[in-house]
């Protein structure tokens, strides 16, 4: 993604300059404060927290983290979260890039119809259709199973992934595909040897975006998993809250633990996430 901002300076009237500074700095401070507060409180002992919620810790301790990890049974939760997110991501990529190729480059009246059918899925999320999903899953006996989590994860992420893939693959020059046809590649060959390697940037975006969406998903797992062994980090953290009212240090340590993978995504793949989010709004 090319990023350019014209660097020419214009005259900046002083009210404008002040407004710009106040708003940007003000909003940045507003953004950072709760995050910093969570972070240092998670290193604070319960007795210090009782004395003052806002004061930074006098003694920094890792006890909260130790307790949270063990009491929260985070190793199992992490395993599940990683399992669902990774499996979903792999399947979504396989399905969406091949469908994206067909929609973008094998035009016919039928594919166009199917594509718009797909786009309707952009308007619906897991949370907004949780009731039908729940009812259907209990009816099919899929509740309380890993499959019952994975199938909706794939289905609800596929629309956007297909949308991203189509938008990207449309940008691949038709002549390249024709050259491959002349060179003797069939559709499967073109897909594997031309489209897949060329679509690598969008595949990364789809992967990161899907992984992130699965990682933060809450409602579905919460609703269908009465069995704690299939729960995810999000559900685990939310249930900690009820068990340990007012032990904020402990809760915040759990929050930090649950957020760490997202922070890693943020550090390494911020551009891909931003690209996904900004395209997400344009799908309309």
């Amino acid at each position: 993604m090319s990023r350019q901002s014209p660097s020419v300076r214009a005259i900046v009237p002083w009210p404008f300059r002040i407004a710009a500074w106040v708003i940007l700095f003000g909003f940045t401070v507003f953004t950072i404060c709760p995050l910093v507060w969570v972070l240092y409180t998670s290193f604070k002992s319960q007795s210090e927290i009782m004395r003052s919620l806002i004061a930074p810790p006098l003694v920094w301790t890792l006890d909260n983290y130790r307790n949270a990890w063990e009491l929260g049974e985070f190793s199992g939760l992490f395993f599940n979260s990683f399992l669902y997110s990774t499996v979903t991501t792999v399947i979504v990529i396989l399905l969406s890039v091949s469908a994206g190729f067909a929609f973008a480059k094998i035009p016919s009246r039928k594919t166009r119809l199917w594509y718009s059918f797909f786009l309707v899925g952009l308007l619906i999320t897991i949370s907004s259709s949780i009731v039908p999903i729940f009812v259907a899953e209990t009816w099919l006996g899929l509740d309380n199973t890993r499959l019952g989590i994975l199938i909706p994860y794939v289905a609800f992420n596929i629309s956007f992934a297909v949308y991203l893939a189509v938008a990207y693959i449309r940008g691949i020059h038709d002549e390249i595909i024709e050259a491959a046809k002349l060179d003797g590649a069939n559709y499967l060959g073109i897909y594997r040897q031309i489209i897949l390697p060329m679509a690598r940037p969008i595949i990364t975006t789809i992967a990161i975006f899907t992984f992130h969406a699965c990682w933060i998903e809450y409602v579905l797992v919460y609703m269908i998993s009465s069995d704690s062994s299939i729960r995810t980090v999000q559900v685990g953290v939310s249930l900690l809250n009820g068990r340990l009212a007012f032990n904020y240090g402990f809760l915040f340590a759990a929050i930090v633990i649950a957020t760490l993978p997202l922070f890693i995504l943020f550090v390494f793949f911020r551009r891909h996430l931003q690209a996904g989010f900004s395209m997400g709004s344009m799908k309309g």
Binding site: F27, A99, F118, P132, T259
Partner: protein, 283 residues
Amino acid sequence: MLLTGPALFVYALVIVLPVLYSLVLSFTEWSGVGWPRFVGFENYSRMLSDPVFWHSLRNNALIVLVSLIGQIPLGFFLAYILYRRLVRLPAFFEAVIFFPTLLSPVVVGLLFAVVFAPVGLIADLIGKIQGLPLFELLIFNSKSMAIVPYLIVILWMYTGIYMIIFLANLQKIQSETIEAAVLDGASEWGILIKIVMPGQIPVFLTTSIYAIAGSLKGFELLWVMTEGGPSYYSSVLGLYMIESTFSYYKYGFGSAVAIMLILLSVVVIVVLTQVAERLARET
């Protein structure tokens, strides 16, 4: 068909079938066991005469309002400041403001539940400032104000999305356009109002649609933060749907709310997209 088939199959199985299924259920009364009993439009008429439904809808409307007059203009202005590099280290500010959008709704809900708790962070702060160590924050006791903390949270969390969207669109502007305006003597204010803003009108429209759709779809954060409470004061339509279905096992009624919700989002978005397209064509 070989290429699109698998994706289509999963999609139809998981999205289309359940929606149809709950459309059927919405005309029945069913508690999860035995056979559903057909009741016609009774669920729908009961929903429309329920004050909780209307209060939830009102809260949804307030959320949209915060997006329209808060997040979107703010996101645009922040994006403009960064786009024009009016400060040092624009990449730093961009990253910081974007970060909260990535957080999980559960985590943010838990965090802000503590911030706005009766003896939470805000209460602590106000108590310290006013010298009242036992100060309690009682904003949730007011039926009309209970949604306000959530409005602050979404402003905190999602303004970054709008900033990112505007930034991506601003960066599509030919830099020669800005350079020409500078040579013509336009001030930064002039560039913003006369050169940049008009071109962003379609983006304002699409982000507005995005905000409306988002307000109808998401409720996890609120669920974790307030559970719609106290009572139903901070409820939204999504929570109303969950509560109606799962608190009393009224699947028929819950399905009616779900269908209403899906219908509302699809209709609102389709209509607004049409309007936006017409407007965009005229301008």
